[in-house]
Symmetry: C2
């Protein structure tokens, strides 16, 4: 599209451009908006600047005539022959703050709006945010406010621009793109903001005629209502997954049917030789048999009114066998079966004590739902949680995700009252539309870790827009605008939900490490609780005169467990403090193990010990593990969940 065509198109969607006039090559129009920029509008000259086909700062008619001739000479000298298809375009020169807007076609989210600081330094600044075409005003505002340039809407250098101008502008772009489906990418740079409004000065548009299919949302029965479950491939051989599964399942409050083609017994319980031998209906089956028998088993399970199947067995897509997955999926769709997996770790449901995983047996019932695309990440997080009293309402290992993915599961969790928060470990998602809908509808706080961060380095081909849109950044930006808590390490998925940390106190026997921790806390955007006069008075009564009188509460290097106890007793009585980090460094007089025992006896998730040392602190760490107290041995790691 030629520039004036784009200008006309934009105008019809209330997207302002500077005043302009397009005219024939031999015309000299009268213009009432000097100074102007003069450009040749011709499909024969793509890189206008290189051909001398753009002249700026033209002040009056004489100037205009001179520059018309200049451009004609310039392109002629490059061998370009102009004809009646070609025109001139004179645009008003507008000045102000240079912004940027664009459209990128992302492989996960489809078309997404980019907005941020513009101008020639665009790629250097990379100060952009991401906005969905369907984003509502709230999402739009969240996104805009995540840019540095948004400071101009809050007051900058004595001036304050109106953010509503931008919101209206973004909405117009949303409308423009929705009505023009063939537009694949746009690049508006600069978009000038001044006292007269917002003007798209330069615009490039790329069209594409290929259409994307939209995946429809589906209504599903829940995965989480199990009375009868079966293990297909339960085993008496301790080296088999089917053994671990049967062992872990022993505490389930419903009925478990064990199937193994060899028959026999598992710890006194019948091993059915065949699924057909089971007389009851089965809600959910866990399949751990070799890949080649999986499809056959599913066919048999259909006769048992099966609702959900967890395929733990591997050997599908991940080793190149897409065909078997397709067959299973078709069968599942036909018979309205939910499938988890294949190639997964299984699934856990806390309220029923259903541990259908081959990870640790030591899982506790609680309020957190954890969904992960990596079985290994799950098994290590479950094992970490076992050390520090974190309980789960649901754990799902998603495996190859041939059927159920994050979106469906988040929707199903909405009706599960035990689930108070949802943590997601995501390597990739399957159905973004459904995923976003589920997140928007979910009433539970959602925590999300996304892999692939260094992909931000990858560069797309066409436009500025493409260059700016690292997949990871785009994903994060959109998730944040939807209210999702993005976390930057895996451990935060279990430590952060259900733990408040807005006002933080530090208790320490060492000033240096406390300073470092205070820095780390502030960097994470959290607040150190400021001690009130009452707090100081109460602490004065139990601490030696030379304590710090401040948060961090430094109780000096010669502190023993008695002094830690006095301070903790006072601090724990203050409800305004959400979290108390207790730092210990091993001084000569420190009774390290006693301090650990003291901390564990408080049995409070508000107290998080950080013991800094090596050989000297090992007995104390053992005390923490035995008592399921979350502890850290490095300052950096200790803030992982803030």
């Amino acid at each position: 599209m030629l520039e004036f065509e784009i200008y006309d198109l934009l105008k019809s969607y209330n997207l302002n451009t500077p005043r302009y006039i397009s005219f024939e090559l031999d015309e000299v129009p009268s213009i009432d908006f000097y100074p102007v920029a003069l450009k040749l509008s011709s499909s024969k000259v793509v890189h206008k600047s290189e051909y001398g086909a753009v002249q700026v700062n033209i002040q009056n008619k004489d100037d205009l005539i001179r520059n018309i001739e200049l451009i004609k000479l310039n392109v002629a000298s490059k061998g370009v022959k102009l004809d009646t298809c070609d025109k001139f375009l004179a645009t008003e020169m507008v000045k102000g703050i240079e912004l940027f807007a664009g459209i990128i076609d992302d492989e996960i989210f489809g078309k997404v709006i980019l907005f941020g600081r513009g101008g020639v330094m665009l790629e250097l600044d990379r100060d952009v945010c991401y906005i969905r075409l369907e984003a509502d005003e709230n999402e739009i505002i969240n996104s805009i406010n995540s840019t540095k340039i948004s400071k101009i809407f809050r007051g900058f250098r004595g001036k304050k621009y109106d953010i509503n101008l931008i919101i209206a502008f973004i909405k117009n772009i949303q409308n423009f793109i929705q009505k023009n489906e063939t537009i694949k990418e746009c690049d508006f740079n600069p978009v000038v903001l001044n006292d007269d409004g917002l003007f798209i000065v330069d615009a490039r548009i790329k069209k594409d005629d290929t259409q994307k299919s939209i995946i429809e949302n589906q209504n599903r029965h829940s995965f989480f209502a199990n009375s009868n479950v079966a293990i297909i491939g339960a085993s008496t051989n301790p080296s088999k997954v089917g053994f671990a599964l049967a062992k872990n399942m022993s505490g389930f409050s419903g009925n478990v049917f064990l199937v193994n083609s060899s028959g026999g017994k598992f710890e006194g319980q019948i091993l059915y030789k065949d699924i057909d031998e089971i007389s009851d209906d089965i809600d959910t089956a866990f399949i751990t048999i070799p890949q080649k028998y999986v499809l056959e088993s599913i066919e048999k399970l259909i006769s048992k009114s099966i609702k959900n199947i967890v395929i733990i067995s591997a050997g599908f897509k991940e080793v190149g066998d897409f065909e078997s997955e397709d067959k299973i999926l078709n069968l599942a769709k036909k018979h309205n079966i939910n499938i988890i997996g294949p190639n997964c770790l299984g699934y856990y449901e806390g309220s029923k004590n259903l541990n259908g995983t081959f990870a640790t047996k030591d899982v506790k019932n609680g309020g957190l739902a954890l969904l992960a695309g990596s079985g290994a990440v799950l098994s290590s997080l479950m094992d970490k949680a076992s050390l520090c009293d974190i309980g789960f309402s649901h754990i799902v290992s998603l495996g190859n995700m041939i059927d159920l993915s994050y979106g469906e599961l988040i929707t199903m969790l909405e009706n599960e009252n035990e689930c108070k928060a949802i943590s997601l470990y995501i390597e990739g998602i399957k159905n973004p539309t459904l995923f976003i809908e589920a997140i928007k509808k979910s009433s539970k706080p959602i925590y999300l870790y996304k892999t692939g961060q260094s992909e931000a380095g990858k560069k797309a081909a066409f436009s500025h827009t493409g260059n700016l849109a690292g997949n990871y950044e785009l994903f994060c930006g959109i998730m944040k605008s939807l209210g999702v808590n993005m976390v930057d390490n895996i451990e935060a998925l279990i430590y952060k939900p259900l733990r408040k940390a807005d006002n933080i106190a530090i208790l320490t026997n060492a000033g240096g490490p406390a300073t470092v921790l205070a820095d780390l806390i502030v960097k994470k955007g959290k607040t150190l609780y400021e001690l009130s006069n009452d707090d100081i008075k109460a602490l004065d009564e139990v601490l030696p005169f030379n304590w710090s009188k401040n948060n961090p509460v430094d109780i000096i290097g010669d502190a023993t467990s008695a002094r830690y106890e006095s301070a903790l007793n006072v601090m724990m009585q203050n409800d305004k403090i959400d979290l108390i980090y207790v730092i210990l460094t091993p001084q000569y007089m420190t009774d390290i193990k006693e301090i650990a025992i003291l901390i564990s006896q408080f049995k409070s998730s508000k107290i998080v010990p950080i013991f800094l040392g090596g050989g000297l602190i090992q007995d104390a760490l053992k005390v923490f593990r035995v008592n399921k107290t979350l502890y850290f041995t490095s300052l950096d790691e200790s803030v992982c969940f803030l």
Copy 2:
């Protein structure tokens, strides 16, 4: 200073400004460099823009006449009466890339140059670097290259500016400031860079007549040549620091004299009642007696030709007693004694097995010198090092630093051959000139952790320059330009020196965590080693067909110690790999402890295990501790030393 006076001054130091002409209020000069900006130059009008006393884009003489009248009207309407002291200034309007330069007077480093991206968005961008007035060309280049805007010197949007222009400009500023000592702060914004050169368009200068004293470097005898040492306050009471010190010192290869006013014996060794009873001269004394007896002891030690004193005793400046410190310092200066402390943990020297600290006894001789301003940080790092076979040539706890500080000690370490690298934990420094000189002269790699990072939020009062210069950022910037390795966590001070990590490999039984680790490694600016065809062939021979064929080397969830061993044997033969992270997640079939034993048996600092889990991995971690193998239990922490 009025603007044209500043312009004249700058010009005399080869600092270009746009062409300009200053003229009387009733004059209309002929100008040959239109378009110009016209400003009133008057001490009566400080905020020119607000008074309408600046007009830009003036194109010709008629325009100039109009604007002269306009400005006169504007200021008259504000009640300002102009007289013959006032002038007009017309400056050429230059366009190009807007840069910034400034001078700030920092409390540690004195006057420092700031350079970076300029323009009205200066505070938003905060894209600046810091350059010392004494910086040589190499330092200047290092600093410039740390800014984002420096991309324009490496090629940006098809254009490449010459960095030498900037280097010359910075040198001219250095000269300008050195020759004009009364200039306290400067603010050049914008400095416009275009094809014609570099032009200071707007300049503000603040003068100050107060002068700073310069602290001279001193020649000192070394602290590190001890044959005879004494402990003043050695004790038989296990709850006393003097007991711990005497215990820790028992392995010293020289002579130790123990002094305790009660006399008696310490594990068979004489406790002298008084320093005078010792017949030998003493090189270094460690004082642990109560504060009030310290000065008296020092006086007695002088008669023993004492060279160095380590005052471990506390109760000085940190509780408000500055006077005692002054007395001690005067005595030390008079008798040419080096003092460490007071209020410190002591000092360790590896080659002589001299552990004069009351931290862990378990310290190993090695190549790293560690100096720290926090005894608690030292004691925890020493204890951490005890778990993973890290050895020290020297450890010094600096305490209140009344005498020796980092600079003097770095200079002394230069002649200590055992010391291969120096790590510094710094809360504050005493003598910046000496410190910088010592760093510049040191031939050993230096690693530095600085506290006070959140101070970056603190804002100075006067200028842009002040606003931009967070103390921490400025400190880091200057240290980096001197070649110091700034580390961002305490542990890196012991894990990073003496360990190469340029080409990194990952061995894992789980894809997810390996992806996360790869991201973390790339984010730290390190490179993942790319497997060669030979590497792949060698691994193919020992691994199952479905291993990843790539780094991360994923040997699949069912890997046992035998498979880890096969892979490690191949990978360890490749000298190009500096570091192998071995990730383990506890799958059902993983023989966790056996894998830990295997790793420990390699006895190589090239292999760093990361075991992800909780209860299931504890036995394995114990294996690592017993074998002094450095290990991690979180991915984030595992990259702390990269």
